[in-house]
Symmetry: C2
């Protein structure tokens, strides 16, 4: 039943050799890996305008130089990550770059913040996308948590099915979004150029009272939220078709160009149209309404905007499992993140990401907007570390012509470091959590690593001298009566050793006498030991008995507890049996140095 459901949802299992077929083409990679970055266009300009509006309408012209500054930063980041792709063709991103160049601690800081950040990406994107839907259909407002969780579940299943298949399904909305925004910008520019829509913005370069450097810097850092997600490509190079680095680099450039054009276009139109941010309508919505009126084209733009926000979450579904895999390979995360599932994706990473982000949605009742600054700083910390790592690399390796790349990374590092510090200064009340759970995550990494190393030491064997030691054996069988199951179990035990003991726990003298008489009459060739229980517990007297047996025989014998267990024909029959055998196993599991064996008895009815 479970297996069938799994097959239906996830598809047939695939061979390891099919892995190559699962690689991404450039166009598909653009869809899978860039939706996070591109969807930022939906709110980047708005974030800048919101800060400037604190001063007044006349300050809005600053959005143009600030947007240009963001564009400049985008260029720096793209160039810088392009260098990373060629330097680390096996994929890596901030974790690998920081670890290899700056040392493990910095690597863990980068890895930890990215890991947390991907969870935030999914939660923020899913709830923002849900907001877009519920804005269009207010009657759904009550069900927003449900919708967001449903979307996350859908993304989880798609990703468990495998990368290429999800790309095929998810590619179209990304292309549609790019198409829609480019058409919007084109039509807007055309209408503005022909004078169909008059210029209503503020005078460019006009002096503005009350503007301060702090405010401009804050507006700039807010605008940098448009850049979240550009690192996704460099993390996922191994997912590309060969030649992977080249394809990844081209995809990155393509994404950067599209993102830059869309972001600058939206900012320009917003300025020309004199648009001010309001609580009720997004900037993109206002621009679309001004350009096309509230007709079909307007709703189309709104719909694809909502859609791409959901797909932004999908970027994290590609990146998180890969990062978890790398951390697991270095023994900083549990081994289970290294296992590829039936469909070749890292299933455990996908599932953990889905579960944690869904929990965030539920805890915050779908209002995850407050997590956006947290999410942004979670991106800029690894940005900074990654570039610092690249700087170190250039200095160490000194390849020919290393000055220019070194300069690019230096500029990038200083800029992203500055932005990180601006975030800390201007938005501390919203991001202080990062200083709690980043150390917590890193501590967990350390603890896990320590444990794996301890265990490896403990289990290491000297194959020349240490050989298996053979001892004697005692088998203890708890019995509740004289039945076919008991007979089979005793038969099995006697085929392993002659040292078999049956144990009966009696609650009252009457049943004990009856049992003893019946056993004697049956005479199965095994001694029956009767334990009296005044507490009606089968477990406690049994434990004591086993303890005694263990203590008496520890040097000479292994102790095995053999539990007869019904295998029922229907699942609900389990409620009718086996409670005691489960209890015995649960108690024995951690407490005793005995082997627990379950003898299956298949019920026919």
């Amino acid at each position: 039943m479970v297996t069938k459901l799994k097959r239906f949802l996830i598809g047939r299992p695939m061979k390891s050799t099919e892995l190559a077929e699962e690689k991404l083409t450039k166009l598909k990679a653009l869809a899978v890996l860039s939706s996070d970055a591109l969807s930022s266009v939906a709110y980047g300009t708005e974030q800048i305008l919101l800060v400037l509006m604190a001063v007044g309408f006349s300050a809005l012209w600053y959005s143009i130089p600030i947007s240009l500054a963001v564009l400049g930063l985008l260029l720096v980041l793209i160039l810088s990550y392009r260098q990373t792709i060629y330097a680390y063709p096996s994929g890596g991103g901030a974790y690998i770059v920081a670890k290899e160049n700056l040392g493990v601690p910095f690597g863990l800081v980068a890895g930890g913040s990215l890991l947390v950040d991907y969870i935030l990406t999914v939660a923020v994107s899913a709830s923002a996308g849900t907001d877009a839907i519920t804005s269009a259909f207010p009657s759904l407002h009550e069900d927003r948590v449900l919708i967001a969780v449903f979307m996350i579940a859908a993304l989880t299943i798609l990703n468990l099915r495998g990368i290429t298949e999800s790309a095929t399904i998810l590619a179209y909305p990304v292309y549609l979004f790019i198409f829609a925004i480019l058409v919007l910008i084109g039509a807007g520019v055309f209408q503005f150029a022909t004078g169909a829509v008059p210029f209503t913005g503020t005078t460019y370069g006009a002096a503005v009272n009350g503007i301060s450097l702090f405010l401009l810097v804050k507006a700039f850092s807010s605008g940098c939220s448009a850049l979240t997600g550009v690192e996704a490509v460099s993390n996922a190079i191994p997912n590309f078709k060969a030649p992977a680095e080249k394809n990844a680099a081209r995809t990155l450039m393509m994404m950067g160009a599209i993102l830059g054009v869309m972001f600058m276009g939206i900012s320009l139109l917003a300025y020309w149209y004199g648009i001010t941010p309001t609580a009720k309508e997004t900037v993109v919505s206002q621009i679309a309404a001004a350009t096309f009126g509230r007709g079909m084209m307007y709703y189309f733009i709104q719909a694809v905007t909502a859609l791409i926000l959901f797909l932004a979450a999908n970027t994290a579904f590609s990146a998180f499992p890969l990062l978890a895999f790398m951390l697991a390979k270095d023994k900083f995360m549990p081994h289970m993140f290294m296992m590829r599932g039936d469909r070749l994706g890292f299933s455990n990473g996908i599932i953990v990401l889905g579960v944690f982000s869904a929990i965030l949605i539920v805890i915050f009742h779908g209002d995850t907007e407050n997590l956006i600054p947290l999410y942004a700083i979670g991106v800029f910390i690894p940005f900074t570390l990654s570039q610092a790592g690249m700087m170190k690399r250039w200095i160490t390796l000194k390849p020919s012509g290393w000055a220019v790349p070194f300069l690019i990374n230096t500029v990038g590092m200083l800029t992203t470091l500055t932005i990180t510090l601006i975030f800390v200064v201007t938005k501390f009340s919203q991001i202080w959590m990062v200083f709690l759970f980043l150390p917590a995550v890193i501590l967990a990494f350390r603890k896990i690593n320590q444990h794996y190393r301890d265990i490896a030491d403990e289990l290491r064997i000297d194959i020349a001298t240490e050989k298996p030691v053979v001892k004697g054996s005692v088998i203890v069988i708890p019995v509740a009566g004289v039945t076919k199951v008991v007979s089979s179990t005793i038969g099995y035990a006697k085929s392993l050793t002659d040292n078999v003991v049956a144990v009966y726990v009696g609650f009252d003298e009457e049943s004990i006498k009856k049992m003893e008489a019946k056993w004697e009459q049956w005479n199965p060739g095994v001694r029956l030991i009767v334990l009296r229980s005044r507490y009606r517990s089968i477990i406690r007297p049994l434990m004591k008995f086993i303890e005694t047996v263990e203590w008496k025989t520890a040097d000479t014998d292994h102790v095995t507890v053999l539990i007869p267990q019904f295998i029922t024909k229907k699942w609900w029959h389990n409620f009718l049996h086996n409670q005691t055998s489960w209890l015995i196993r649960a108690y024995l599991y951690t407490r005793r140095d005995v082997t627990i064996a379950t003898f299956p008895y298949h019920l026919q009815k």
Copy 2:
């Protein structure tokens, strides 16, 4: 950890011989068993007035004859259940009486509807009590589901601690409620008699337009909701101190008298004061306000009313586990309901009741008022069957002087049958569910019974001829490398049989070659079999291999799969190990006729 929490919540385990000490005195039994019945006073009169108000204020005088009729029915029920107590001193109530006299099918109908009804009692009482609290503190309204679920959790824990202890804790509110309502009635009657509060009711016996027999009958049946819970005493006779029957009968009479006085008193005061039911204030609240003003005494009455509604839920916590025990003893419910817990209560019944009623609360968002008619019919079906059973008993046994008791039961049966039919006719839209899940519950009883009988047949052994059969043995050990754990496991296996095979599942040729070389070098005296897995699954090749071994050796050998398992020192270490061993066990559990043994390896760090 879990054990410590359990001890803290539930207390130390108790001996079976302490059972006698856990018996109830009459006064305590009154508290434990009568809160359900007594709390009905809080809404009984109101239910009558609500129906009469459909005609108009002038019809309210009918509440007096109707209340008298309810009082008459109460008398009949009390007398009738008194007879049951003496006839069935080992406790029984409707299930036992109907089963023994009318046959198993009727017994199951009675038992099934009571079982469902107890769950409804808990849900309805807990949410009604919560309503009383949130009416007083409107700011808590949002948290009503939480409050109700918390109350249920608290009751569950109290009951797991044991009956007497819960009685001590729960007795005072019941006494306080009785005291408060009697003081209210006394003060009200005094004030009315002295003319301090004038008579404002309608003329008694005045002709009323639009009144119909249907309406009066409906009002009567609504008033019968004041009688829910009177059966609790006769179900719980074995919980009484010796002489149990006599004490139970006296408790029943005491309860009947108190209930009668309180119900009639409230009805009279409501009539005298001319009180009409409103949506915002309960009838009891109006009477209390009219008598004392909105002072301390008023709030005291409201508080104990809220409290006793929670305690009404507690009645079900005494009755449900006992009924489940009796059904389990007759093999209509799973065995687990027969086990007494550490504190001598039937823990599983208590827990199941708590969980199911909490689920009802959550599903209905705490608005369980619609369940009240369902709850009432769930009481009157077993009432009717119980009395019919007693009639049959008198006819069959014909003890001296059986005519009067027979008459009492006949009157009772006819009345409760009539009320049941009135419910079906006048409130079908609210109770149709009963005709769905009553048959479902009875079907489940039947299925469980059939299964247990089948299994008993299947497991029966002829102790003269059937003895344990000894065969050979093969032990299969899945290994992942050459470590201390593998060495110990092999040592253990070799002490049981010489026929031991180690199995290694390899994903690629490189690791397979390495493993084979290392094994040869180590030479533990056990053959290594290498399986190749193209799907990266350890499970599937292993299953196939075990299947083959089983098929080859089924006649001569038992097959045992011995799984080395890490026993970690800290619970979270489990996330770092054992995934594969759990998977193997889960797959083997239902599918193969092999014994699964777990060899524990205690990690030191």
